[in-house]
Amino acid sequence: MAQRSLIIEPPEFLAERPVPHTRIGEITATWSGDHRIGGIVSFAGVVRADETSEGAVTAIEFTAHRSMAQRSLSELIERCATAYESEVLRVYLEHALGTVGVGKCPLVIVVGAGHRPEAFGLCRDILEALKAEVPIYGRELTEGGGHQWKVNR
């Protein structure tokens, strides 16, 4: 088997703004020069207008233990990738901090691989591990001016 290559981007996974909706297209275009890639799978998390007792959710305010979240993301991507054999695995992950309004993206994960099983599998594994292991917090702001803390299930 050819030398396995895992490329993880960007250096900082957390940024103080919603992830632009166009990010997935940009990354896909950037990776078009990597001719080992046969499939790209992406996930975009989107803030929903959930109904609460204080009205609909209007935004989520994200905070984190930033240095621990950065380290945790880096480690979990590498760990998840060990489950897949592919000549190349490329991962792009960006999570927003600060206020993210309804319809905006707090998270984008893009995974490129030689074939679709690795791309789908790794994208999902990273997402599930992120929800379970990374110290990121979300305060859901509601129409009535109140808030409640989001918890992953």
Partner: protein, 97 residues
């Protein structure tokens, strides 16, 4: 050396309670009313003992779920938090994604 340290406790085993700053995150910042709390604790201590001591000294933590991180690593049960720990953090259930 072993026998000697048993009779003359080392720096770690001889530690007296001292004020330790503990970083808190997410919903715990509202419970505590700040991003950190200061508690009199003796280190080294197991994660379980530190948790019991914390909850005894800070009743507002009663019924709150969190994991303890020492220098950005989750510590549980009998795992030890050393006296020279750089940061202790309380991490409530996560909500990323």
């Amino acid at each position: 050396m072993r026998n000697q340290t048993e009779h003359t406790p080392s720096h770690e085993t001889a530690s007296q309670p001292r004020t330790v700053k503990i970083a808190v995150f997410g919903p715990l910042t509202e419970v505590v009313g700040a991003g950190e709390l200061e508690v009199e604790l003796t280190l080294p201590a197991s994660a379980a003992r530190l948790d019991a001591e914390l909850r005894r000294r800070r009743p507002e933590l009663d019924g709150r779920r969190y994991q303890i991180a020492a220098d950005e690593r989750i510590v549980r049960g009998e795992e030890v938090i050393h006296a020279d720990v750089g940061e202790i953090a309380l991490l409530p259930p996560f909500a990323g994604g």
